[in-house]
Amino acid sequence: MNAGPVIIERELCDFVAHEARLLDARRFDEWLALFAANGRYWIPLQGAEQAEGAAHNALADEDSLLLSLRVQRLKNPRAHSQHPVSRCQHVLQRSALTHADHAAGRYELATPFIYVESRGERQLMLAGTARHRLVRSAQGLLIELKRIDLLDAGTALPAIQLFP
């Protein structure tokens, strides 16, 4: 028997919350494993206004290779900017299921958030909406796209060292 839509929605929302918890706990390898092989982590420079595929830059636009590079670097004791280490906290609003194709096992969710990144005496706060495109696979749910629409992506920003 297939799970009903309410149960699936609960599962999807839990997945999004779990993803953020892994980042906050610095469990970066487990976080990476949530991405599909063709997964993408994208923070467009124009935030929510930027169309997918537009020839416009991004704060980050990373395939699995670049995400792995980021995670590998953080493990290197000579990642100088990680002394002192950066810590982050995602504060998520309830996710909204914005698209569901149950037959294909494809879903999209929008999750407004506040993100705090702390390092030494300095703290950075960002607000935005995370948009997850998830696909059901043999390994369970995987992230095809995590798009982060920041309120202030285009403004002058200090270093953002972890993952909003």
């Binding site: 923070i43 420079l45 124009q46 020839a55 416009h56 830059n57 991004a58 704060l59 980050a60 636009d61 395939d63 290779l65 670049l66 792995s68 590079l69 980021r70 590998q72 670097r73 290197n76 000579r78 990642a79 100088h80 900017s81 285009g154 403004t155 002058a156 920003l157 200090p158 270093a159 953002i160 060292q161």
Partner: protein
């Protein structure tokens, strides 16, 4: 401060820490140094239509770059002649046919000339017309548009545009000529970074070839670990093509060579650079040969410096087609902007390279920049220590260099930085009491 006090802070082979730490010196830099030098304002492609404007701040002054009705570009102070309100408060936009102050509705033509005001009769018989407030928006007196790159000098002191930049204009030429049509357009947005350091640390680092091996070790080690085991002829994704060369050794950076020019300018990587190994594009090269002839096209494409520095506000990369703009905000706070160019008539891939490079290396989220920024901010703190008031610039110093204002040197020679500081003294003290 008097001329001799400022000059004493820069010795032949070292500079005093006050250049980075003193708020008093920063104010003097705004009054003298930045006002006496030619600073980059913006690119003409950002203001295409009459009435288009871009707001920028140079030397602490609010400026507007404005496209005129006749197609020319002017730089005006963003200040209503009446009470001082900024005429526009968005970063860019279009004002239509005239500026209109939102406070009391004084209006100005696009060149700043006064147009109209309410209750005009109330000024009959007053001194308004004869004073500044009756003259409209003040214009920056010295503006140069060179191949669509717009520069301004706020003071009358100092050399004219051509003399100031001299041979460095060839670096702008190279950027422009990489378009078979000879035209560039700013596209794809700008990455803006706030760095909590003095602007000079960033500017020196543009010419620092000895830091990548230790500063960027974590990023390049991760890239190499991910890419190892692939065969040498396997085409690299653009990201690997751009990040892996950061791990090149001291010898590579030394052999790339450099050239210093008068007034603080320099070209690093006169022989080759970390950008020289990007995949070739046969169709593009054919279109370049068609546009410029085989010999000239080869010259243009072969020139691929690490950085050409148009002192003190602009660093150019011909390939990828990216520029950085350095905007000092306070003695310990600097805004860095990274802009991408689309070269008209060139394939999309070139524009992709510019955007990708800026994103990988100059974004607030760049793993390359994270270590740079951390170290600049660390220097800003470390220099407060006692026991040594000086910053060393001794590497490869020779007394003979003082007599030559243009010279070609090895790529790790700190003369590129010494040259910046010699120009700093020159333009800082140009109009200072003796």
């Amino acid at each position: 401060m008097r001329r001799a006090d400022v000059a004493a802070l820069v010795e032949d082979d070292r500079v005093h820490r006050d250049l980075y730490l003193s708020a008093e010196l920063f104010e003097l830099e705004r009054e003298h140094f930045f006002a006496n030098t030619w600073n980059y304002v913006g690119h003409a492609s950002q203001v295409r239509e009459p009435g288009d404007y871009v707001a920028v701040e140079i030397a602490g002054r609010p400026l507007l770059m404005v496209r005129q009705g006749d197609g020319s570009i002017r730089v005006l102070y963003n200040r209503c002649a009446h009470k001082g309100t900024q005429l526009v408060s968005d970063a860019s936009g279009n004002v239509g046919k005239f500026f209109r102050c939102p406070y009391h509705a004084w209006t100005y033509k696009l060149d700043g000339a006064p147009l109209a005001m309410p209750l005009k009769g109330g000024y009959d018989g007053t001194r308004l017309k004869a004073c500044e407030s009756g003259q409209g928006m003040a214009a920056v007196p010295h503006v140069a548009v060179y191949r669509d790159f717009v520069f301004a000098k706020l003071n009358d002191a100092g050399p004219g545009f051509d003399e100031y930049f001299g041979e460095l204009l060839r670096s702008i030429d190279n950027l422009v000529e990489r378009s078979p049509l000879g035209r560039l357009r700013i596209e794809g947005g700008v990455l803006r970074n706030i760095v909590h350091c003095n602007w000079k640390m960033y500017l020196e680092n543009i010419n620092d070839t000895v830091h990548p091996m230790s500063t960027h070790e974590s990023a390049t080690a991760a890239a190499h670990a991910l890419w190892q085991g692939r065969s040498a002829d396997e085409p690299k994704p653009m990201s690997m093509e751009q990040i892996l060369p950061f791990g090149a050794g001291y010898d590579f950076f030394d052999r790339m060579g450099a050239r210093v020019h008068p007034n603080g300018h320099s070209v690093l990587g006169v022989n080759f650079s970390i950008h020289s190994g990007y995949a070739q594009l046969p169709d593009y090269e054919a279109s370049m040969r068609e546009a410029y002839g085989a010999e000239r096209a080869a010259e243009i494409l072969q020139r691929s410096p690490q950085n050409a520095l148009c002192f003190p506000s602009l660093a150019l990369k011909g390939s990828p087609q990216a520029i950085r703009v350095i905007r000092p905000l306070a003695v310990d706070r600097t805004l860095i902007e990274a802009w991408s160019f689309r070269a008209e008539g060139a394939p999309d891939l070139l524009f992709e390279r510019a955007m990708t490079y800026n994103r990988l290396v100059f974004s607030p989220m760049s793993v390359v920049a994270h270590d740079d920024v951390h170290l600049f901010e660390s220097i800003q703190q470390g220099l407060r220590a006692r026991g040594n008031d000086w910053v060393s610039l001794h590497r490869d110093f020779e007394r003979g260099e003082l007599a030559q204002d243009t010279q070609t040197v090895n790529g790790t020679n700190e003369i590129l930085m010494r040259n910046q500081f010699r120009a700093w003294v020159k333009f800082m003290t140009l109009d200072m009491p003796a």
